[in-house]
Symmetry: C2
Subunit: 477 residues, 2 copies
C-alpha cells in the first residue's frame, strides 16, 4: 500500500517498549497520574525496565525514583509524561536530547481549553516534535494499550490479545469497548487513545495498524480530523483488506460543541461522514453497543455478499416481530426453496406453526438432532445467505417442563457444517429477573467463544448482519 | 365516551370469575392443556371454585373431575376450553344452555390453518356465540390473566397488579412483556391473549380496559384487525385519557405471511399503521424492548410537552456520543440558561471538562450533595424539559479508587424535588463481565422501584422520552 509511506509508521516502541520512563511519579498522589500508571504496569506484569522520574527523587513500590531523564542508566524506549502542561515542552526537549523519541503525553491543558495559552503550548509541542522527529501520542489522552506486551496501564482490564486494533480520541470509550469485546472472548492486539492528536494523528495509527498482521479489524472513535481527504484515501485503501468500523462523535450540532472542549477540535457534520463512509467502505456506527456488535460480527463471521436471512425463532409472535425487525433493518427475509420446505416438513414436528421463514423452532430447540437437521437444510438452500437463531434461554415461562440447553450442540452444528453461512444467535435476556440477565451473559460468552456472535436483541443482531453485508458488498463492488 | 357503547364491555367475569370450569383436563397429559391450566391456577392460589371436566371422570390434584357441564353443582362464571377443535361448537352450545357465557378457547385448528374446514369451524363458533351472546376469547390463544384475582395460569410468572393493561394476539409475547415490566416493579392489572379474535375483538377489550380505573396505560400487540376505521375512532377517543402503546406485528411483507399462519389474518402494511398511529395518538413501537421501555416511561413519568433534554453523562467521549444519540432520536440538546451555567461553575469541581449540556458528571456522582445541586439547577432551567442521568455503575475501570454508589441519593433527589421534570437513568451494563450485567439489572430495578425509569442504553432512554413527548404533544394538540 503506497499510501502508507506518507505517514509515520515507526510506532512499534509505543506499543512494545523494552523500557519505560514515567515522568511525574508522585508518592503523595498514588491514585493519580504517573504513580497510577506505574502501579497498573506492575499489576499487569510488565516485564521491561521501568524508570519513575521526579525531581524530588526517592523510592516508590520498591523502585528508585530518578530526578531526571539524564540520570537514567539507559535511554528508554518509551516515556509516559504526567506532569503539568507548562513543563511538557522542556521534557520533550530533554527526551530528544537523550534519543528518546516515543512519548505519551497524558497531560491536559492544551488546545482543548480553547485559550490562547493552551493553543500556544500545543504549537510548541508540535514544533519540538517536528524538529526532533518525536513520535508523540496526545496530549490529553490515556495513550497506548497492548496486552501482548503487558502494556495495559488503563485500569482494571488486563485484557488479552486478539484480532482488534482500536484508534480512539477517548480513553473512557476505548476502555468500555475493550471490556465489552474481551468479555465475549474477542481480544485486542493494540489500542491507542490519542486525545488532541497534536503530533501523531489518526492517519499515522491507521497506517501502522494496516500493516500489523495480528490486527484483522480496526475500530476507530474519532471526534474530528484535520486532513479529511487524506484520511478518506487512506481508509479506502485499508478497507480493501481490513474492515474499519467507525464511531464518529460529534455528528450533531449539540455534541460538536462538546467535542471542542473535549479534544479541542471541530467535528464536521453527519452528511459528510455518511458520504465518507460510503466512499471509503467504512462501517459507520452510532453507539458503543453497535460498535461492539459489528466488531464481533467481523471478527467471527466468514465473508458474505447476500443479505437474505433465515430466522429460526421461538414462538409465533416472536417469528412475526423478528421478520419485521430484520426487514426494517434492511435484510431480506425470503421464502425457503421448495426442496428445503419438503425436507423441513419431514423432520419438524407437526405441532406448532411452520411458516417457513421465519420458522417457529420452539420445539426444535429441545432436540439437538432436529436443530442440526434444520441448519443443514438451510445452509444448502440457495435462497439463504445468513442465519439468525433465536437462542431461547431455557426457562419455564411456557406451558412446558424445563427445556434442555442445546447451546453446545448448536455450536457443534455450526462448526461442523462445511458449508456454513454467517450464523448469529439472539438471546432475549434483557429486563427479567436478575438470574435471567446473568444467564444471558453466560450464554452470549459461551456462544461467542464457540464462534457464533450472540446479541441481546434481534434489532442488534440484524443491524450487525447488515454491516457485514454492506462491507463485503463494497469490497467486491 | 359514547363510542364504548358500540362494543362488548361486559367482560368482568373473564378476568374476575368466582368459579371456573376447565374442559379437557386429562390425567394422562399433565403438562399440556387443561391439566396445566388447572395446576397453574392452584399454584397461583386462585380462591374461587374450580371444576375440571372430562367425560372419563376421576380425580386430579384432589379435585373431582366432572363428566360434563350439566353435572356441576352450579353454573360457573367462566370456562377454559382445552379440547380438540371439532368438539368446541358442541361445548359452546352446552355452556350456553347452562347460562355460562364467558369462555376462553385455548384450542387451535381454526382459521389459522387456512383450510376450508378450519374456516368453517371458526364460522360455527361465531354463529353460536352471536346467537347466545357468548363472550368468547380466542380461539388459538392463552386467554386472560389477572393477578389481582389470582388468575395467572400462564406459566411461571405470577406477577402483580399495577397500571398496565395488555391486549395481545400472542401469548408468548404477552408473557415476555409481563415478565419484563414486573421485574422492574411495574405491575399488570389485566392482560388478554386473544389469538384469532373470532368473537371478542381488540375493540371489545379496548373499550373494556378504557373504563377500568386501575389501568393507566394500555399495551397492544396486534397482528391484524378486521375493522380498522372503528379501531381508529375508538383508540383516538381512549388516547385522550390513557396512552395506548402498540407493537404491530406483520408490518413487513415477509412477516405478513407468518401472521396468516399464526392467527389466520391479514396484516396490512407499515405506512397504513404509521398514519393510524399519528391520527389516533398511538405510540407505535418496533420491538418488545421498545414496548417495555415506553410503558415504563408512561407509568412512572409526569406529563411533558417539550423535548429539550439535559444529559448528565460520565466522561468526555460518552458526553459526545450521548448528545449525538439523543439528537438522532429526535430530542433537542439545548444550551443551559446563563443563570444555570453560573450556578454550575460555582459548585462543580474545576477538574474535568464542563461543556454545559451534556455535562460530564463523572466526578459529581461521587458526591450526592453535588448531584442534588446539579439536578435542582437543571429543574429550574427554563431551557430544559427532561433529564437523562448516566447512572455509572461503580467499578474500577478508571484511574480512580472504587466509586461510591449514590443511587439512593439520586432517587431521593428526584422524589424530593417539587418541580422535578421527567427524569430517567441509563445503565450501561450490557456486555461486560457477568457481575456487571447482574449489577446493572439490580440497579435498574432499584431505580424503577424508586420512580426513575432506567434503561440499559442511551438509545433506548432517548427513544422512550421521544415517545413520551410525542404522546403528550398529540394529547394537547
Amino acid at each position: 500500500m503506497n499510501l502508507i509511506k506518507n505517514y509515520q509508521t515507526d510506532l512499534d516502541k509505543l506499543f512494545k517498549p523494552q523500557s519505560i520512563a514515567i515522568f511525574g511519579v508522585s508518592i503523595s498522589g498514588l491514585n493519580m497520574g504517573g504513580a497510577s500508571f506505574l502501579r497498573k504496569l506492575l499489576e499487569s506484569k510488565y516485564t521491561g525496565k521501568i524508570y519513575p522520574i521526579n525531581p524530588k527523587g526517592g523510592e516508590i513500590y520498591g523502585l528508585k525514583i530518578y530526578p531526571d531523564i539524564h540520570s537514567l542508566p539507559e535511554s528508554p524506549d518509551f516515556a509516559i509524561v504526567c506532569v503539568g502542561a507548562a513543563r511538557v515542552p522542556h521534557i520533550l526537549q530533554d527526551c530528544a536530547a537523550t534519543g528518546l523519541k516515543h512519548i505519551h503525553l497524558l497531560t491536559s491543558g492544551f488546545s482543548e481549553l480553547g485559550t490562547p495559552e493552551g493553543i500556544e503550548l500545543e504549537n510548541q509541542i508540535i514544533t519540538i516534535s517536528r524538529e526532533n522527529e518525536l513520535k508523540v501520542v496526545g496530549p490529553n489522552c490515556m495513550g497506548t494499550y497492548c496486552p501482548s506486551s503487558h502494556l495495559t496501564a488503563w485500569g482494571a482490564i488486563p485484557g488479552f490479545s486478539g484480532p482488534i486494533g482500536i484508534i480512539s480520541q477517548s480513553g473512557g470509550i476505548t476502555q468500555r469497548l475493550t471490556e465489552y469485546i474481551c468479555s465475549l472472548g474477542i481480544g485486542v492486539e493494540k489500542a491507542v487513545s490519542f486525545g488532541n492528536g497534536a503530533v501523531l494523528k489518526a492517519h499515522d495509527y491507521l497506517a501502522f495498524m494496516a500493516e500489523d498482521k495480528k490486527i484483522k479489524v480496526i475500530a476507530m472513535y474519532l471526534e474530528s480530523i484535520k486532513d479529511g481527504s487524506g484520511l478518506l484515501q487512506l481508509v479506502k485503501a485499508i478497507s480493501q483488506t481490513k474492515p474499519v468500523v467507525l464511531l464518529k462523535g460529534g455528528k450533531s450540532e449539540a455534541s460538536a460543541s462538546t467535542v471542542t472542549s473535549h479534544t479541542g477540535s471541530l467535528a464536521g457534520n453527519l452528511s459528510i461522514w455518511r458520504a465518507f463512509a460510503l466512499q471509503a467502505g467504512v462501517t459507520l456506527v452510532n453507539s458503543i453497543n453497535e460498535w461492539a456488535d459489528a466488531l464481533v460480527a467481523f471478527s467471527l463471521l466468514p465473508e458474505t455478499l447476500g443479505k437474505k436471512v433465515f430466522i429460526g425463532s421461538g414462538g409465533g409472535g416472536n417469528s412475526v416481530i423478528y421478520g419485521d425487525v430484520c426487514t426494517s433493518e434492511g435484510l431480506d427475509v425470503p421464502k425457503l426453496a421448495e426442496k428445503t420446505m419438503n425436507l423441513l416438513r419431514e423432520v419438524v414436528p407437526a405441532v406448532g406453526s411452520i411458516a417457513g421463514n421465519p420458522l417457529d423452532m420452539f420445539r426444535i430447540y429441545q432436540d439437538s438432532t432436529l436443530l442440526d437437521g434444520v441448519l443443514q437444510f438451510v445452509y444448502n438452500d440457495p435462497n439463504i445467505d445468513m442465519v439468525i437463531v433465536d437462542r431461547l434461554i431455557p426457562r419455564n415461562i411456557y406451558h412446558l417442563p424445563d427445556l434442555p440447553d442445546t447451546t453446545p450442540e448448536l455450536i457443534k452444528s455450526v462448526a461442523n457444517s462445511k458449508n456454513h453461512k454467517p450464523t448469529v444467535a439472539t438471546l432475549d435476556s434483557d429486563g427479567g429477573e436478575r438470574g435471567l440477565s446473568d444467564e444471558g451473559t453466560r450464554l452470549r460468552q459461551q456462544l461467542c467463544l464457540g464462534g457464533i456472535p450472540a446479541y441481546p436483541s434481534i434489532t442488534r443482531a440484524a443491524r450487525a448482519l447488515m454491516h457485514l453485508h454492506r462491507y463485503y458488498s463494497w469490497k467486491r463492488r
